[in-house]
C-alpha cells in the first residue's frame, strides 16, 4: 500500500510513489472505467447487453493492467476485464460485443495485442505463456500480462501455466485480482494458503501482494514485475487485494452470500476516491481538471451507449464463414439450407406473414 484509504501516502509499502503525471493519467482512466462500468450495467437493465460482469470497485487493477504495458506487449483478459481492455485502447463498444450477444469476440486481438475475453476459467493462462515464449524465441521484448481471479487459481490450468512459464522462463506477469469471491464462494473455500502470492513459491516464481485498490501501489508493483519479466527474470506473480462491489453479474444475487456490512466496509477503500483525495491534496488535481476528466469519461460512456444501442444485424453467413479457413462440404450444405430458410422467411414476411409461419398457426 502506498496510499492509505484516506488517500494519504503511507510508509507501509516498500515501493516508491509513481510520478504525478502517471497517477493523473491513471486517475483519468479510473474515472473512465468507473463510468464505463456504470454505463454497461445500465445497458443491461435496458436489455441492450445480455449480461455484464462488472469490475466496479476493481478499476484500479483494470487501469494499472493496461497502463504498465508497452504497445508491443499483450494483455490476456477475462470476462470481467472489459474495462482493462478498453483502457488498453480497444474500442469499448467492441469490447462488449460478447456480452451484447452479437458475436463471441468483437475486436481484432492483433490490433491492440489483447486476447479475446476468456470465459473458461484459467484457460487463457497457458495461452499467455505460449505467446510470450514465441516472442522470446524470436528475440522480441514482449511481456504478456495475464489476468485471472482468485477462484481461477484453483484450476489445474493455473498450475500448469505458472509451471510452464517458470520452466521456460517466459516473460509473463500473472495478475490475480483477488476480489475475495468466486461468484458466491469465499476465498476460504478456495485456498488454505497464507496468500495467493504464496502460490509462486512452488514454481520458483516471485510472488508479491499489493493493495488492488491503490493505483499508486499497483503501478509500482506491477510496473516492477513487468520490468523484471522484460529484463529476462522470468515470470512474476502479483496478487492484488480488491473487492467486487457489485454482484457477480446482473444474473447474480449477492445478498445470498455476503452481508451489506462487508460490502460497506469496502466502500471506504474505494480506489477512485482514494486516488482523487491524494491528487487533490498534492495539488495535482483541481476542479477544472477533474471536470475535464469527467467530461472525457462521459464522452466514452456516450460512445459506448450509442454503439451498443446501434443495432447491427449479425450476419447469418458468419455462422459458417469462420469455422474453418474454408467451409467443409458439410458446412456448405448447411449454409445453403439456412440461406434457403431465410429466403423463404423473407418471402413470407414480404407477404406480411410472420417469420415462423407454421408455428404461428397455433397461437
Amino acid at each position: 500500500m502506498l496510499l492509505g484509504p484516506d488517500g494519504r501516502p503511507t510508509t507501509a509499502g516498500t515501493g516508491t510513489l509513481p510520478p504525478p503525471e502517471d497517477l493523473l493519467r491513471g486517475y483519468a482512466s479510473i474515472v473512465a472505467a468507473r463510468r464505463y462500468n456504470e454505463q454497461a450495467s445500465a445497458l443491461v437493465r435496458q436489455g441492450r447487453l445480455a449480461v455484464y460482469p462488472s469490475s466496479f470497485g476493481q478499476e484500479a487493477c483494470q487501469v494499472a493492467a493496461a497502463q504498465v504495458l508497452a504497445d508491443g506487449d499483450w494483455l490476456f483478459p477475462t470476462y470481467r476485464d472489459t474495462a482493462a481492455v478498453a483502457a488498453r485502447g480497444v474500442d469499448p463498444v467492441e469490447a462488449l460485443v460478447l456480452l451484447k450477444g452479437d458475436w463471441h469476440s468483437g475486436y481484432d486481438p492483433y490490433e491492440r495485442h489483447v486476447a479475446p475475453l476468456a470465459t473458461p476459467l484459467a484457460t487463457q493462462l497457458p495461452h499467455a505463456v505460449g505467446v510470450a515464449h514465441a516472442a522470446r524465441l524470436r528475440g522480441e521484448p514482449t511481456v504478456v500480462l495475464a489476468l485471472c481471479g482468485d477462484g481461477a487459481t484453483s484450476e489445474g490450468d493455473f498450475h500448469e501455466a505458472l509451471n510452464f512459464a517458470a520452466v521456460f522462463s517466459s516473460p509473463v506477469v500473472f495478475l490475480v485480482q483477488n476480489n475475495r469471491y468466486a461468484i458466491s464462494v469465499p476465498l476460504s473455500r478456495q485456498t488454505a494458503a497464507p496468500s495467493l502470492a504464496h502460490k509462486g513459491v512452488g514454481y520458483g516464481v516471485p510472488g508479491e501482494q499489493v493493495d488492488g485498490n491503490d493505483l499508486a501501489a499497483l503501478l509500482t508493483v506491477l510496473g516492477g514485475a513487468v520490468a523484471r519479466a522484460r529484463a529476462g527474470e522470468g515470470p512474476q506473480l502479483v496478487e492484488a487485494h480488491t473487492y467486487r462491489m457489485q454482484a457477480h453479474t446482473n444474473a447474480d444475487d449477492a445478498t445470498r452470500y455476503r452481508s451489506d456490512e462487508e460490502v460497506a466496509a469496502w466502500v471506504g477503500r474505494d480506489p477512485l476516491t482514494r486516488l482523487e483525495a491524494y491528487l487533490r491534496a498534492e495539488g495535482v488535481l483541481d476542479d477544472e481538471r477533474a471536470a475535464a476528466v469527467a467530461a472525457e469519461a462521459e464522452e466514452l460512456a456516450r460512445h459506448t451507449r450509442e454503439g451498443i444501442n446501434r443495432d447491427v444485424e449479425p450476419d447469418p453467413e458468419d455462422l459458417f464463414r469462420h469455422v474453418y479457413s474454408r467451409p467443409t462440404p458439410q458446412l456448405e450444405e448447411q449454409r445453403a439450407l439456412v440461406r434457403d430458410e431465410l429466403a423463404r422467411d423473407e418471402a413470407a414476411s414480404g407477404a406480411n406473414v410472420t417469420t415462423d409461419t407454421r408455428q404461428e398457426a397455433l397461437r
Binding site: A50, V51, L98, L99, G101, D102, W103, H104, T119, P120, L121, G151, A152, S154, E155, G156, D157, A182, I183, S184, V185, R189, Q190, T191, A251, D252, D253, R256, Y257, P314, P316, D318, L319, F320, V323, T328, Q330, L331, Q334, V338, E341, D356, T357, R358, Q359, A361, L362
Partner: protein
C-alpha cells in the same frame, strides 16, 4: 413400449401428493428427498451452497442439511470429479453439479478414465454411485461456452449411463433413480426447461425407469425421436402437423444409455418413417447413433431414409444467432415433408 431394463429397486416412500413444480424445483425436490433419506448422499459443486447454484437448483439444501452435505468446493472441475470418485469409493453417493456443459470439460479425463471405468477395471469390486448433473444445451441466450450439448461425448464412453429428462416428473423420478443407482449417471438437465412446469408426485419413482423410452404422443404417419430439450420441439411440430392432417408420433428417449432399442423400433415400425431431433451438432453426434440403429434394425419397415434435424456443425453461436442453430419446429416439419410421401 417400455424398457427391457429392470430398475434397481429404490425404497421409495409412499408417494406424496402431486404438486405443480418447475423442472428446477423438481430436481431440487429430488435432491432434498435423497439427502433426507440417505445419509451417504452428498451434493457438491461450485456455488451449490449459499447461492443455491446459478440456476438455484440446490436452493436451500445447505441451509437444511448443512455445509457437509451440500458442499461448495474449490473451483476446479477435475478436482471435484476426482474427489467424488474417492468419496464414492469410500461409501458415499456424491451428486456433483457441473456449472455448465462446457465447464465439465476440465473433468473429462476423470470421467472417461475413472468414473466410467472403475467398476470394470476392478471387476466389479469398486462401484461408483456418482451422479453428474449438467445444466445442458442452449436456447437461453447464453454467451459462448454456456450452451454446449455434450451428450455425445458421454454416450460414446462405455461405463456411463446418460439420462436427459424432458419433463419435471421425469426430472424428479429419473434423478431419484440415478442417485439410487450403483452406476455412474450423467444427468443432463435441459437449461431451457428449468422453468417449465408440470405435475410431479414426489416420492413416486414407479414410472418407466432409466433405460426406457416413452411415447409422448401417438401418431401413425411418421415417428419423431427426441430427447431432453428437443422433446417440446417435436411435440410442437406434431401439433402443427396435425393441423395439416399429418399424424406424427413422438418418442422421448429419456435415457441415451442404456438405449431402448425395443421401444424405438416398435415405434418406427408402426409408422415406417422416422426423424431424429436433437440439439447437439449433428456430425458424429448421438442422433447419428439413433439414425444408424433405426437404419440397421428397421430397414425393411422404412419407406424413406431416416432424417436428422440437429444443431448445425458449428460452434454454438452467440445469442443473437442461436435460433438459426437450433432444430426448430419448421426444420422438423421440413424434414417430415422430405420423407418421400409421394412413394407412399
Amino acid at each position: 413400449m417400455t424398457s427391457t431394463i429392470t430398475r434397481p429397486a429404490t425404497q421409495a416412500p409412499a408417494a406424496a401428493a402431486t404438486e405443480t413444480l418447475s423442472t428446477a424445483q423438481a430436481i431440487n425436490r429430488a435432491l432434498r428427498d435423497a439427502l433426507a433419506e440417505d445419509p451417504s448422499v452428498l451434493v457438491l459443486g461450485e456455488d451449490v451452497g449459499a447461492l443455491g447454484g446459478v440456476f438455484r437448483v440446490t436452493d436451500g439444501l445447505t441451509a437444511e442439511f448443512g455445509a457437509d452435505r451440500c458442499v461448495d468446493t474449490p473451483l476446479a472441475e477435475a478436482g471435484i470429479m476426482g474427489f467424488a470418485v474417492g468419496l464414492a469409493m469410500n461409501g458415499m453417493r456424491p451428486v456433483v453439479e457441473m456449472q455448465f456443459d462446457a465447464f465439465a470439460y476440465p473433468a473429462f479425463e476423470q470421467v472417461v478414465s475413472h468414473v466410467a471405468k472403475m467398476r470394470n477395471r476392478t471387476r466389479g469390486r469398486v462401484e461408483l454411485p456418482i451422479v453428474v448433473r449438467v445444466p445442458y444445451a442452449g436456447g437461453i441466450g447464453g454467451v459462448e461456452h454456456h450452451s454446449d450439448s455434450s451428450e455425445s461425448y458421454y454416450a460414446h464412453t462405455p461405463g456411463l449411463h446418460v439420462v436427459a429428462p424432458s419433463t419435471p416428473a421425469d426430472a424428479y423420478a429419473l434423478l431419484r433413480e440415478a442417485i439410487a443407482s450403483p452406476d455412474p449417471v450423467i444427468f443432463l438437465e435441459p437449461k431451457k426447461l428449468y422453468w417449465s412446469t408440470g405435475e410431479v408426485t414426489p416420492g413416486d419413482t414407479r414410472g418407466p425407469g432409466i433405460g426406457s423410452a416413452v411415447v409422448r404422443r401417438e401418431g401413425t404417419d411418421a415417428t419423431l425421436i427426441a430427447y431432453g430439450p428437443s422433446v417440446p420441439v417435436a411435440l410442437e411440430a406434431a401439433e402443427v402437423a396435425a393441423r395439416d392432417g399429418r399424424s406424427l408420433q413422438v418418442v422421448d428417449l429419456r435415457s441415451l444409455v442404456p438405449y431402448d432399442d425395443a421401444a424405438v423400433c416398435a415405434a418406427v415400425e408402426s409408422t415406417g418413417r422416422a426423424v431424429v431431433v436433437a440439439e447437439a451438432s449433428g456430425f458424429a453426434g448421438f442422433a447419428a447413433e439413433v439414425a444408424a440403429r433405426v437404419g440397421e434394425r428397421c430397414f425393411h419397415s422404412l419407406a424413406a431414409p431416416v432424417r436428422r434435424v440437429t444443431g448445425l456443425d458449428i460452434p454454438y453461436p452467440p445469442p443473437k444467432l442461436e435460433h438459426l442453430y437450433l432444430p426448430s419446429v419448421d426444420r422438423v416439419l421440413d424434414a417430415v415433408d422430405d420423407l418421400q410421401w409421394e412413394d407412399a
